[in-house]
């Protein structure tokens, strides 16, 4: 399940890199860290769900309740910030 290194070793850089790789693989295009994924129409509700599950299993976090807000998935930077917060990493 965990595709990258052991617990506690993630930084903003490694998280962002992993998220970008996943997005590129799934959407066949590259994404700048602050491009709004949802405003482009390239992603569906099903894709939002894919992102949730992928982030959970890749970074060993649980994304539930208010964390499911779309703003947390809108950009690579937003997802990175959320993952680091849920992992308890100080920015």
């Amino acid at each position: 399940m965990t595709i990258s290194s052991e617990q506690g070793s993630h930084t903003a850089e490694t998280v962002a890199q992993e998220v970008q790789q996943f997005l590129e693989q799934r959407t066949k295009q590259t994404w700048d860290p602050d491009t709004d994924l949802f405003s482009t129409g390239a992603v569906s509700s099903m894709f939002a769900m894919e992102l949730v599950v992928h982030l959970e299993s890749s970074f060993d976090v649980v994304i539930s309740g208010p964390d499911l807000a779309l703003d947390n998935f809108r950009t690579v930077n937003a997802m990175t910030a959320m993952v680091l917060r849920l992992r308890g990493v100080k920015p």
Binding site: M1, F22, R26, T27, K28, Q29, A42, S44, S45, M46, F47, A48, M49, E50, L51, V52, V53, H54, E56, S57, S64, G65, P66, L68, A69, L70
Partner: protein, 370 residues
């Protein structure tokens, strides 16, 4: 199956006995049976032990669902509702809400989840139910239709619009302003307690709003429905196993034109196709459960695929079984007659076959985007 799943399956099989036919004819499941199953954690067996459940994984929970589905699709539908309610709390709720509501769902309280409305079926974005802040409470107003198990429910998980987004709110069924009216004479799963719900300015504590904020409606509903789709899909595997069993038994024992039915080639083909249908549905469900259990990002799409395949196979397979049993199975209450009616509804519920096709097509289209 795991030990816990086997124990659950034996408990349920023992409690069902040979009564599923009578429940179908009466259109009612015994309430004490549902409460007993709820209190033993069987109805939402994937809830973890920390909340009073048995923590089955999706695969073991699925096999249990198929076992129940083979005996009684009405009871299996109640399981689907209870499990989906628990999963909705888990997915959309915060940790305090897990601790408040999940133990209730494993100790005998029954739950139903309300999505559909008079003007919002396949298009849930047309949902009109409102959850409005009012101090320490929220006010819920709207109408829900065809809500499985609502007739039995102590807790209603009602999806509605909230703070510019959407979420579900937990409404105790006996709250003033809640009216629950049974759907009369449903085509299938006749004892599953389908009901329409009217919520007339119903007030509940603000802490009952899952997540406490507005979420994107498609994400909130997809998260909840993904569990329901897995459960319906495994339930359809159960329908197919029951049909296969009934058809194999009947065609081996009944003779026409001096030999067993199964020795007639056109009958044999039906049997072969029923077997293929059961295997096909089972493999689709196993694949989706593996995605669920490993946290694959394809989990939601795989659940749609499994539900689509299993409900289609079940509807076709049940029709074959009725064809094979003919007059022996053509009375209401009979296992294949129930399967025939129940399976057809499974092509409609939790996303129609057509909605499933659109989701799957969208999934493919995205993959070849340049």
């Amino acid at each position: 199956m795991t030990d816990a799943a086997t124990d659950h399956a034996e408990l349920v099989s023992g409690l069902i006995g040979d009564r599923a036919d009578a429940w179908d004819l009466a259109g009612e499941l015994p309430r004490d049976l549902l409460v007993k199953l709820g209190a033993s954690g069987v109805l939402c067996a994937q809830v973890g032990p920390e909340h009073g459940g048995t923590g089955l994984d999706s695969r073991a929970g699925g096999e249990l669902t198929a076992r129940v589905g083979a005996r009684c699709s009405s009871l299996r539908s109640v399981m689907t509702s209870q499990g989906m309610a628990a999963w909705t709390v888990r997915r959309l709720g915060g940790t305090e809400q897990w601790d408040t509501f999940l133990p209730r769902l494993t100790s005998g309280d029954l739950a139903a989840v309300g999505f559909s409305e008079p003007g919002a079926g396949s298009d849930l974005s047309a949902m009109e139910t409102e959850i409005a802040d009012d101090g320490a409470e929220v006010v819920v107003t709207g109408r829900k239709v065809w809500i499985t198990a609502a007739h039995y429910a102590d807790l209603l998980l009602v999806f509605g619009k909230y703070r510019g987004g959407a979420t579900a709110v937990v409404v105790p069924a006996r709250t003033p302003g809640v009216r629950i009216t049974r759907v009369e004479n449903p085509l299938g799963c006749r004892a599953a307690g389908h009901a329409n719900i009217t919520l007339d300015a119903v007030r509940v504590p603000a802490g009952h709003v899952l997540g406490g904020t507005g979420l994107p409606l498609p994400l909130a509903t997809t998260a909840a429905l993904t569990y329901g789709r897995m459960s319906v899909a495994w339930g359809c595997v159960g329908i197919l196993r029951a049909c296969l069993d009934a058809a194999a038994t009947h065609t081996a024992s009944r003779e026409q034109s001096g030999r067993a039915l199964a020795e007639h080639q056109l009958v044999a083909r039906h049997l072969a196709e029923l077997y293929v249908a059961e295997r096909h549905a089972t493999r689709a469900c196993e694949h989706a459960s593996a995605s669920w259990d490993t946290g694959s990002p394809d989990m939601a799409v795989d659940a749609v695929h499994a539900k689509y395949v299993a409900s289609r196979e079940a509807a076709q397979g049940a029709a074959r079984a009725v064809q094979l049993l003919a007059s022996a199975g053509a009375s209401d209450g009979h296992v294949v007659a129930r399967a025939y009616r129940d399976a057809k509804l499974m092509e409609v519920i939790e996303g129609t076959s057509e909605i499933c096709q659109l989701v799957l097509a969208q999934h493919m289209r995205k993959k070849v985007r340049p």
